[in-house]
Symmetry: C2
Subunit: 302 residues, 2 copies
DNA sequence: TGCGGTGATAAGAAATAGTTATGAACAACT
DNA sequence: AGTTGTTCATAACTATTTCTTATCACCGCA
């Protein structure tokens, strides 16, 4: 049996402090023979005498003294381990890796990160911004803990919770501001500017117009909502953007915003994570924070 | 049951490495259920899930990952502990605190320290030079590990080993070189210069002359052999010094050295340490080194 | 839907750590 | 010197912990 245990070290440490088997044993809440045996075992394990037993004193040997220093350091580290665990108890600690789709990230991240760090102040947040399929993959592979995406995802290994719905609004050249709001059919006849393939928002917009990806030439791809809005300002066409993006994207562009008539186009944004992730409670908490952040955003921008 | 054990940490570490209960259990040479239970216990102990178990993968949680770093550090320290013990196995390590009487120290220490460090290169040597009673006290109180003194000490709690005998020689003014060597009786009639009270060498010299400490006025105290020799050179009297001191002490003094007739005065120098000191073997080794050092000194100076 | 692989659970066996009682060594005190 | 008290070691036994084998439940996959 070659196994060193923490018990050995604890008893050893107690004995170094008390210099007396009986009292050290008391301190460890065991009997004196038990301590004697453990110390003996430790000495055999290490192959060196650690204590010099004389009739009235128990003294460390030179090596024992060297050892005591290291042992104390180790025990300190172990305590730290336990404290660390206690501190993180039922709370998110360490590192939260979260993925966000590009049509949400720029508008919500500042709020989200702010609110999360406010509530979990010893949490490092890492954000990945990329397209939904990539997020799902990263999630499955364990590279991120959760993702904020448009629902549904319908991946059996993931849990999804809805956070909020967001409407899409029409962005058109400023001079069109007075024109009637087009309905889906009319929209599909207009020069529609959309995000390039892969963005879920593209599909959501197309679906509103009852279009599939096809019909080339009739729509133009942009790599970001900002680009799209700038193109609209330049009179190239019209586009849809999520309501949340309005404040940021139209601030410096001469475009007009129009709400659609009911049924308004919209999507549900939600958060997803692995079913197997044992931090479900904590992630649920996070999702609430994100929900609140969205709520706040809507209030200020609405 | 609040007790964290190294076993927990070892198993935890193995599982982080293998990401698979079965294989990790193999690596630990235990069965899979045993590992499962220990991990479960560890998680309960820390109050946090450390692993995310899905059907095909075992992944660390965020906190688990933080923990793994610290755990690895701890295990590294523990390994180091064991290595340290193994390295010092049956060898003196760390610190050797040795006491030496003043009539030996200046002549032998350079040799002794040199020889010891040559053989035990990771040994820090601390030397205390003081009178025998103080050395014995320091020894008993555990402030030093061994002492080099004149035997016998006859202290039941100490072991003593003889190292070598050293003769005393007469130191007298240069102009007396041709005179016959005095015998003890004659010596007691001469102006005898001796070390102050407390030095064992004083008593040893007196004993040779069949004198006790009494007879005031007939002898003069000096605080070191160097002082005594200088006083002899100044024609104040004669003195005895250990043979070993001749080379050093008479180098720059105009005195003459005379060997006594048999039976020559001498003393036995030995090393002593606590009976209870478990490093008896190692100290015996050290005593051999000291013996060799003395041998060497005699050769060069004889 | 059954199969292979995986982790959890249960019950009993093995190993470990603890207990009390006692012994041996030694210092301290008549 | 004999006695007493203190201290650590040893022995024999008991309690607890840890491990093993057998089995289950779950999930992804053909």
């Amino acid at each position: 049996m070659n196994n060193l245990t923490l018990k050995h070290l604890r008893y050893f440490e107690a004995l170094t402090r008390h210099g007396h088997f009986g009292r050290a044993a008391d301190a460890c809440a065991i009997s004196q023979p038990a301590l004697s045996m453990q110390i003996k075992e430790l000495e055999e394990l290490l192959g060196t005498k650690l204590f010099e037993r004389s009739a009235r004193k128990v003294r460390l040997t030179g090596f024992g003294e060297d050892l005591a220093l290291k042992v104390r350091a180790i025990m300190h580290s172990v305590d730290e381990l336990e404290n660390m665990a206690r501190a993180s108890h039922n709370r998110l600690t360490g590192r939260l890796r979260i993925g966000v789709i590009p049509t949400i990230a720029p508008y919500m991240l500042p709020q989200i990160v702010g609110n999360i760090t406010r509530k979990h102040n010893n949490l490092d947040i890492y954000v990945h911004e990329t397209l939904t399929p990539k997020l799902i993959q990263k999630l499955a592979e364990g590279w991120i803990d959760a993702a904020i995406v448009a629902l549904p995802i319908s991946e059996p290994s993931l849990v999804e919770v809805a956070l909020f719905d967001e409407n899409f609004v029409l962005v058109r050249p400023k001079e069109d501001a007075a024109k009637p709001v087009p309905n889906p059919e009319m929209l599909s006849e207009m020069k529609l500017l959309l995000l390039e393939d892969g963005h879920c928002f593209r599909d959501q917009a197309l679906s509103f117009c009852n279009m599939n990806a096809a019909k080339p030439g009739e729509l133009l791809d942009g790599s970001s909502l900002t680009t799209l809005v700038q193109m609209v300002a330049a009179g190239i066409g019209v586009t849809l953007i999520p309501e949340m993006a309005v404040a940021v994207e139209t601030r410096s562009a001469s475009v007009s915003i129009a709400q659609f008539n009911d049924p308004k186009p919209s999507r549900t944004i939600g958060m997803v994570w692995r079913k197997t992730n044992p931090l479900a409670n904590q992630l649920l908490q996070i999702s609430e924070i994100v929900k609140d952040a969205a709520e706040g955003l809507r209030k200020t921008s609405g």
